[in-house]
Amino acid sequence: MKTAVIVYPGSNCDRDAAMAIERVTGTAPAMIWHGESALPDDLDFIMVPGGFSYGDYLRSGAIAGRSPITADLVKRAEAGTPILGVCNGFQILTETGLLPGTLMRNSGLRFICDRVKLTVESADTAFTRGYERGQELIIPVAHHDGNFFADDETLDRIEGEGQVVFRYVDNPNGSARNIAGVTNAKGNVLGMMPHPERAVDLTHGGTDGLALFESILGKVTA
């Protein structure tokens, strides 16, 4: 497996992402600095990690969405490379237009760090085939801008197309229709606010995130 993690100035979950990938593949991913113009060839998986790229200035993910490396990221997405964006990575992917909707300030207005319960809405994606539909997972969240919003038409469409992959059981941030994670229409790009990379090791208090990495990194073939 050839994998990469993109590092923007202000990314702070890049090491955690790399650890989760390496735990599953046995090989460390390439860490790609935002200023590079191209990602390595033949990548099997790209992760856009969480953090505060560019300090969340202007708007979470807005500047990273226009960073030099991001142009190549969009090309890879269009070519079908699996891409996972977590937290700030999700915000960045919505800024690029690869994913529908946007992430607004939490409805409670405060930053929230908690372990939340999610349901798996679709086990038919490359990211979730290691789970069962309806399965409940406990995954940590940590964000200030996690309130997923899209217009009703878009929400109807993504629900109808099976693009809603995770929902919150107890909505922590006001997200429309309790949406915690969505894919693009093709299903090769997943964005989610909860941090699966923080739930891959018993020391984390749970390993519910591990199957996501195992799914996308080819360890689950179901």
């Binding site: 100035p9 202000g10 702070n12 979950c13 090491r15 955690d16 650890m19 989760a20 600095w33 200023g35 969480g50 953090g51 505060f52 560019y54 300090g55 969340d56 200035y57 405060r110 930053f111 929230i112 760090c113 908690d114 372990r115 940590p140 940590a142 200030h144 941090h195 990379e197 923080r198 891959v200 090791d201 020391t203 984390h204 208090g205």
Partner: protein, 747 residues
């Protein structure tokens, strides 16, 4: 007799300007040391360097009483942070610092920059920060400012720590009317370094280039150190411009850039620009190396136009560092800092001459010998009165409550005992993916795994200000002992402490008495427990219009868990387990929470701390944890046995049936705050082994009850359901922050 005015004052300076900077007596010392009158830039430099905040002029004599060495200590006080050996060539680097005055004036930025400053102290030494902690004290929940301060401070701590990507794993929060006008915001950072790659501040060679890196210098925070060295009075809100403004994004880049540069062979020495900014960093680097330093201020990256030399030297703009590089290696630093979009500029060089020489616009604007500024700063032996001893309180003189369960319910919903989830849910506790226990966990300490190993650090902050007020010496001992006990209850070997000594105006002998008493008590406990002080900070003048805060010597402590699988907590008690108390219970109610809540009294002597017993009992408990016999373990502190039992029962979702026997009245046994005790739960079989081993170790053990059921009861009565306890414990703070009258009137 009097000298002519023109010799006493440099051009443009008069007596009033002098007194705005230093005392009349200090000005005489300056005149004598220099043999001439200082100009405004020089006066500004003396003013910040001789401020209480930078010079420790009132406290230095007493800080020397702390034990600061030990077999694990690599660097003790005197560096940016303490450094201790944690085996395998690794070191833990940590320090705690106050940001009290700025946080009261501007809570968000004050708290945020407190976090930024303490992080810089740690990564300056070559360590990657791996954990943040905080110790917060606010005023009465009903005080009109309290909610705004709680809200701003917690948002500021979270806003900074979350963005830099260092988990905020724990801390403590108290509410007391004694902090109405002076809140305390103490932040602690812990970092991890290779023990042979520690960086220090002392300049090593003359003629080495001095680099300025990080953010640009602006006009913020000018005279912040001086502001933090005075009491508040009328108009303290007008001091807002002295509060710095933080940018955690720049800090994150600065951390990464500095660690990247540290991996290259380029740095000779490095120092962050904290209080008193460019002044204190350049003076400290040069004077600790016995050298001089020359800076050309025209090269300082500036955020604003037309900044004067005075403003540049006194600015406390954040996220800046001073680095002395090896000659010819400047380009390595330039490459790395440019990659991270940070300013980097050669602004001067070290020199042989032992002076601070500043040039601005082609002129020498300052030329001072370094010794009087730093090493020879005034040192005061301020008069002190010891606190008056208080009578101890006897349980038999108090009325016994009818229903211990009702009392426990009220206790768990009181400001001191209630859950602070409202605060810590705003802190990212999991980033870096090595957090094993944090504020959310049923554990007496935060636990952070050493990345890539099975070792972990246990971290705690502790202080019981009401004990320190009642008896500074015993209170000082207790703060250290409780920290040691918390680390022990988490399964760690306690290593060392940092401290943040928060007191009122040291010019008042009774306040100085509190300070001396607490320091001496802490020192005694540190010696007895082999728990040296490796770093720390003093914050005085936490006082408004003559009213001082309760003495608050906050202790931040670090211990090592050799195998993370052997960490302990109090969330795994099961029905059928035997519940035991390790240590003697005499029913100490002086200065207890019980007395405060139910007798509305804050008097009495605090529980005495027998350090030999503390050590014996703690070593015994740690041994039992490592022998794998304990399912749950919790230290006994605020709220005594009942408080600890409620925590354990709520976390384990399992009640306890207590049986009380003996001569101590039940309420004193239940709520007494005797020290050196632990509550443990284990199988009946393990309980027998523990009792046998305790007997031979001379450790008192009492079988206190049996786990099971949906409630906590005593002798089949006094029951309180876990559901009611949970609602009281978790409900108070959200209601308080929403301004609900019953919650804000709780204190």
């Amino acid at each position: 007799m009097t000298e002519p005015a023109q010799n006493r004052y440099a051009d443009g300076i008069d007596e009033q300007i002098v007194l705005d900077h230093v005392t009349a007596q200090e000005y005489e010392i300056i005149l004598k040391e220099l043999g001439r009158a200082p100009n405004l830039v020089e006066l500004g430099i003396f003013s910040v360097m001789w401020s209480e905040h930078c010079s420790y002029k009132s406290s230095r004599l007493h800080l020397a009483k702390f034990p600061t060495t030990g077999e694990r200590v690599i660097y003790g006080p005197g560096e940016n942070a303490g450094v201790v050996d944690i085996g395998d060539g690794q070191a833990a680097v940590f320090k705690m610092e106050s940001h009290n005055h700025p946080s009261f004036i501007e809570p968000y930025q004050g708290a945020a920059t407190g976090v930024g400053g303490i992080l810089r102290d740690v990564f300056t030494m070559g360590a990657r920060p791996i954990a943040l902690m905080n110790a917060l004290r606010f005023g009465d929940p009903s005080h009109p400012k309290t909610r705004q301060l709680v809200s701003g401070v917690s948002a500021g701590i979270g806003g900074y720590g979350n963005c830099v990507g260092v988990p905020t794993v724990g801390g403590e929060t108290n509410f007391d009317k004694g902090y109405n006008q002076n809140i305390l915001v103490n932040a602690m950072a812990v970092g991890l370094a290779d023990s042979d790659k520690i960086f220090t501040a002392a300049a090593r060679e003359p003629g080495f280039p001095v680099l300025y890196v990080g953010a640009k210098t602006g006009r913020d925070g000018i005279h912040g150190a001086t502001m933090a060295s005075a009491e508040f009075g009328e108009g303290s809100e007008e001091k807002r411009p002295t509060v710095q403004v933080g940018d955690p994004f720049t800090e994150k880049k600065l951390i990464e850039a500095c660690l990247e540069l540290m991996a290259e062979d380029a740095i000779s020495s490095i120092q962050d620009m904290g209080a008193a900014g460019l002044t204190s960093s350049s003076v400290e680097m040069a004077s600790s190396g016995g050298l001089g330093i020359e800076l050309d201020l025209d090269h300082v990256p500036q955020r604003e136009a037309n900044m004067s030399a005075y403003e540049m030297m006194l600015s406390e703009s954040q996220e800046r560092m001073l680095i002395i590089v090896k000659p010819g290696r400047e380009h390595v630093a330039e490459r790395i800092f440019h990659k991270w979009d940070l300013d980097v500029a050669v602004i001067g060089q070290t020199a042989e001459h032992g002076r601070l020489v500043l040039r601005h616009k082609g002129e020498v604007v300052c030329d001072l010998p370094l010794d009087p500024i730093g090493e020879n700063a005034p040192k005061y032996d301020r008069p002190s009165y010891p606190a008056e001893a208080r009578a101890s309180i006897k349980a038999k003189d108090l009325r016994a409550p009818d229903d211990l369960g009702k009392v426990l319910l009220q206790l768990m919903g009181s400001p001191d005992m209630a859950s602070k989830k409202w605060i810590w849910s705003q802190y990212d506790r999991h980033v870096m993916a090595d957090t094993a226990a944090s504020s959310e966990s049923p554990c007496d300490a935060a636990i952070v795994r050493i990345h890539g190993t099975d070792k972990a650090l246990a971290i705690t902050t502790d202080c019981t200000p009401r004990y320190c007020l009642a008896d500074p010496f015993e209170g000082g001992k207790q703060a250290v002992a409780e920290a040691w006990r918390n680390l022990t209850a988490a399964g760690a070997d306690p290593i060392a402490i940092t401290d943040c000594l928060n007191f009122g105006n040291p010019e008042r002998p009774e306040i100085m008495g509190q300070f001396v008493g607490c320091v001496e008590g802490m020192a005694e406990a540190c010696r007895a427990l082999s728990f040296p002080v490796v770093s720390g900070n003093v914050s005085l003048y936490n006082e408004t219009e003559g009213r001082a805060i309760p003495p608050t010597p906050a202790v931040g402590a670090v211990g090592l868990i050799p195998d993370i699988a052997q960490r302990a907590g109090y969330g795994c008690m099961e029905a059928g387990d035997v519940v035991l108390v390790i240590g003697d219970t005499a029913g100490a109610l002086g200065a207890s929470l019980y007395l405060r809540l139910f007798e509305n009294r804050e008097d009495g002597a605090p529980p005495p701390v027998d350090l030999a017993v503390e050590k014996r009992n703690g070593d015994f408990v740690r041994g039992q944890i490592r022998a794998g016999r304990l399912k749950a373990v919790h230290d006994l502190s605020d709220g005594g046995l009942a408080g600890a039992a409620a925590d354990m029962a709520l976390a384990s979702r399992c009640g306890i049936k207590f049986a009380h026997t003996g001569k101590t009245p039940a309420f004193a046994w239940y709520f007494g705050e005797d020290q050196a005790r632990y509550l443990i739960a284990c199988t009946a079989e393990a309980a027998e082994q523990i009792r046998a081993e305790a007997k031979s170790a001379g450790v008192p053990v009492q079988i206190a009850g049996l786990a099971g059921g949906p409630e906590i009861s005593v002798n089949g009565a006094h029951a309180v359901s876990l559901d009611a306890l949970r609602e009281a414990h978790e409900g108070w703070m959200p209601r308080m922050m929403a301004g609900e009258p019953d919650a804000v009137a709780a204190e």
